[in-house]
């Protein structure tokens, strides 16, 4: 039936909008601390990088969410509405989780890099070459 499938699409679109905004807000209000540690006092670079990653997250999540909307199944009963909705929203939520862990991996990589460069003092040969 035509009205049921439009209801499914509307609920799915509302869900992906709410989920993306919630996850992005949670992740990128916390990640500022990471960025300030990674960039070690360079405020403008830290804030800009945080914003760039936020934009990337929004684009990727929204883009694939919208792309994933279409279904070939026929929807006639309330039971089928539930089945198709849980399939679609579940798939999108798993994708959001993977994207979240990918972003966390990038942050922890930066933290590791910062730690390593703080621990090892510059080699004396590099100073000789410079002077």
């Amino acid at each position: 039936m035509a009205t049921l499938i439009i209801g499914v699409y509307t609920i799915y679109l509302a869900f992906i909008t709410a989920a993306t905004i919630y996850v992005a807000h949670t992740l990128f209000s916390r990640s500022k601390t990471f960025m300030h540690t990674i960039f070690n006092g360079r405020e403008e670079l830290a804030d800009a990088t945080n914003k760039l990653f936020e934009t990337g997250f929004f684009l990727f999540a929204f883009g694939l969410g919208l792309w994933y909307l279409q279904t070939d199944r026929e929807v006639y009963t309330t039971r089928e509405v539930f089945e198709i909705l849980s399939l679609k929203t579940g798939g999108f939520t798993i994708f959001l989780g993977i994207l979240l862990f990918f972003n966390l991996y990038l942050f922890f990589r930066g933290m590791k890099h910062r730690k390593r460069t703080n621990e090892i003092p510059p080699l004396p040969t590099a100073q000789i070459n410079q002077s």
């Binding site: 670079l45 800009a48 760039l52 990337g56 684009l59 990727f60 792309w67 279409q70």
Partner: protein, 119 residues
């Protein structure tokens, strides 16, 4: 539903998204360009040209792929599917280009840091 109305709606919506995202990236990419080039005047010029190239590529893509897949657009369902899938493809393309740009910033700053390389 009239296909022309859907097309115009689609073009306006995707142009709005592209231009808003471009302005945001232009604003927040500026500190990085200044960091890599080191000269503020030249950096702003480079940044403006990058924005222009971004707009040309993406607007061209939006118009070029308008009738891909031969959309029927005869009822509400096909209209929603058309808009959602097209916009999804465009936003995913923007995300791909954006992550590639972040990768390039990372590579350039590493080169600058490690080998004292200058743009």
């Amino acid at each position: 539903m009239n296909a022309l109305v859907v097309y115009i709606f689609y073009i306006i919506l995707s142009l709005w998204i592209t231009i808003r995202v471009g302005n945001s990236l232009h604003k927040y990419g500026r500190p990085w360009i200044i960091y890599l080039i080191g000269e503020e005047n030249l950096s702003d010029k480079v940044n403006d040209m990058l924005l222009l190239g971004y707009r040309l590529v993406n607007i061209g893509y939006i118009l070029f792929t308008l009738m891909n897949g031969k959309p029927t657009l005869e009822n509400m369902q096909s209209v929603i599917e058309f808009l959602s899938i097209k916009l999804g493809m465009i936003i995913t393309l923007l995300a791909y280009l954006h992550y590639q740009n972040i990768l390039m910033l990372y590579i350039f700053s590493k080169l600058k840091h490690k080998y004292k390389w200058q743009l």
